[in-house]
Symmetry: C2
Subunit: 70 residues, 2 copies
DNA sequence: AGCATAAATGCATTATACTGCACTTTATCA
DNA sequence: TGATAAAGTGCAGTATAATGCATTTATGCT
């Protein structure tokens, strides 16, 4: 899944785990306001912010060389 | 490759493509100072910044659910 | 419908990424 | 070894992510 879909990835994963934004904020040690911004898609978050949320949600961010067939 | 190795990924890829930091900065529309920070690893860049550089270098950032065997 | 919980929005403040400029240090040559 | 290019560093200004608080809107349940 491409990084541009990060907002949906986060929201879907959070709902799969049945936690609300407030809980995710606490677990991630990130402000609730920031979680909302993340999920809204209108955000340009810092990589550390993303990493913290992904850690809690069991998501991982990867980087690789783009292949011919992508 | 995990996102925590982004600085090496960028530097290695840049050298593979035989361009210098200044060229990468221009092509990415990002300040030279920021490129240097990125490659030094002492950075917490915004996702858009990362994306611009990766676009030029032919790198892609992916997100996925962490599996049991990772 | 009425109530409770979750989520969205506006605003002000703080923290810090991003930037350019000037300078230093380190490679890479002829 | 001297010249040139590339990379690293310090600093100050600007842009914006991150945050909290208060309020509003949406969602779900009995």
């Amino acid at each position: 899944m491409h990084i541009s879909d990060i907002n949906n990835a986060i929201r879907n994963r959070r709902k799969t785990l049945s936690i609300n934004q407030s809980d995710l904020a606490d677990l991630s040690q990130i402000g609730l306001r920031t979680i909302k911004a993340l999920e809204s898609g209108a955000a340009n978050p810092r990589i550390n912010t993303l990493q913290k949320v992904c850690d809690v949600l069991g998501l991982e961010i990867l980087i690789r060389v783009k292949g011919p067939g992508d």
